[in-house]
Symmetry: C2
Subunit: 212 residues, 2 copies
């Protein structure tokens, strides 16, 4: 069967197609680095609507690059995100991704309080001073909890990827978060997800790699 089998050729062709088909107004709206993030999200979802939904608040790419260079701990709200982020670049930068939703203490406490594990897991994350970045691809309750902790001065992240998905609270939590002036990449509306969170961070990691 005849099809493209070379990985770099597939990736290059994909990005060419994405650029060709993107709305020219959308292309003009973003900086070069922002566009690398937007294109990678479209590459991951095959959904051009992300060109209209992604917002960059308070220079998040520059902040993220500086933060990642320090070798930080990053909290992700799903194990899928943890599994999807490029392990080689993370390791080279001495960064680590953590997630606590499957921890026994988190499961127990969430059951007792009748709240999502995402809430309890985020509370645990906000107590760790080495966690300087948050990737939220799934749970609006995680983003609400993070917002509360930031407002109360309990955590002060270098950057946040705020892309929870869904029908109950996702849009509202992101609308609220985007007014908070935290360096962040936000997908407005209902869309988002773990693959979107991964695409955003991987795009930034590739920018870091290209500066070597």
């Amino acid at each position: 069967m005849s099809y493209v089998k070379k990985p770099m050729e597939i990736e290059d062709r994909s990005f060419d197609i994405i650029e060709d088909e993107m709305n020219s107004e959308v292309l003009k709206k973003f900086s070069h680095e922002e566009l690398m993030v937007v294109k990678r999200v479209i590459h991951t979802t095959a959904d051009f609507q992300y060109g209209d939904l992604i917002e960059f608040i308070k220079n998040p790419i520059e902040k993220a690059k500086k933060s990642l260079a320090k070798g930080i701990k990053i909290y992700a709200d799903t194990n899928m995100i943890k599994a999807g982020v490029n392990p080689r670049t993370l390791k080279r930068l001495n960064c680590e991704i953590v997630n606590f939703v499957a921890d026994n203490d988190v499961i127990k406490e969430a059951g007792e309080r009748g709240v999502t594990r995402s809430i309890v897991s985020m509370e645990k994350a906000c107590k760790d001073p080495n966690i300087k970045a948050f990737l939220i691809g799934n749970a609006p309750t995680a983003l609400y909890t993070l917002a509360e902790h930031i407002k109360n001065g309990l955590t002060d992240p270098d950057f946040v990827v705020a892309v929870p998905v869904g029908f109950v609270g996702a849009e509202e939590s992101k609308n609220e978060f985007s007014t908070m002036e935290v360096p962040s990449v936000v997908v407005s509306g209902r869309k988002g997800g773990s693959t979107v969170a991964v695409a955003v961070l991987n795009a930034i990691l590739y920018l870091v790699d290209n500066e070597r």
Copy 2:
């Protein structure tokens, strides 16, 4: 802050909203069980277009339920899929998900042959007679390779979730696969992804759980 914090309430409300907003023609098109799969995919992506894109070929849900009950090995083309599938139900059914894209022998051979790791990893999977199901959420090259092996009689899966995403080969590989009469859930067009593959399998696992 006031927002819904109870996990089952969030899930129930989400599915109510999805059903309310789904096109009535789409709702009528599917069986009850198929609809559970379609709704979970929409829940995962917040993208109603999946109602038009998902195809069920050769009774895949019934086949999958029977196959899973036997305690099978499942091949997933990404570690994100492996991380996202409900581990409790899998364990209870004595099923296991495997993925070889990060194996040293796969990385080495892919580099030498100048092909994607997805191809080499899928070739390895097709040699394992205990792998009776395939979830492809990322790489069209994995789906092409699987299709070749099925045509050549080298593997005969109980069911396939064929939802690779992207701009180079995704649509073509799925179009071809959907003509092969393999029990499968296919997302036509460019869309799909690891979260979609996870949503399909988790929906089927919940159907199995509900029959206990």
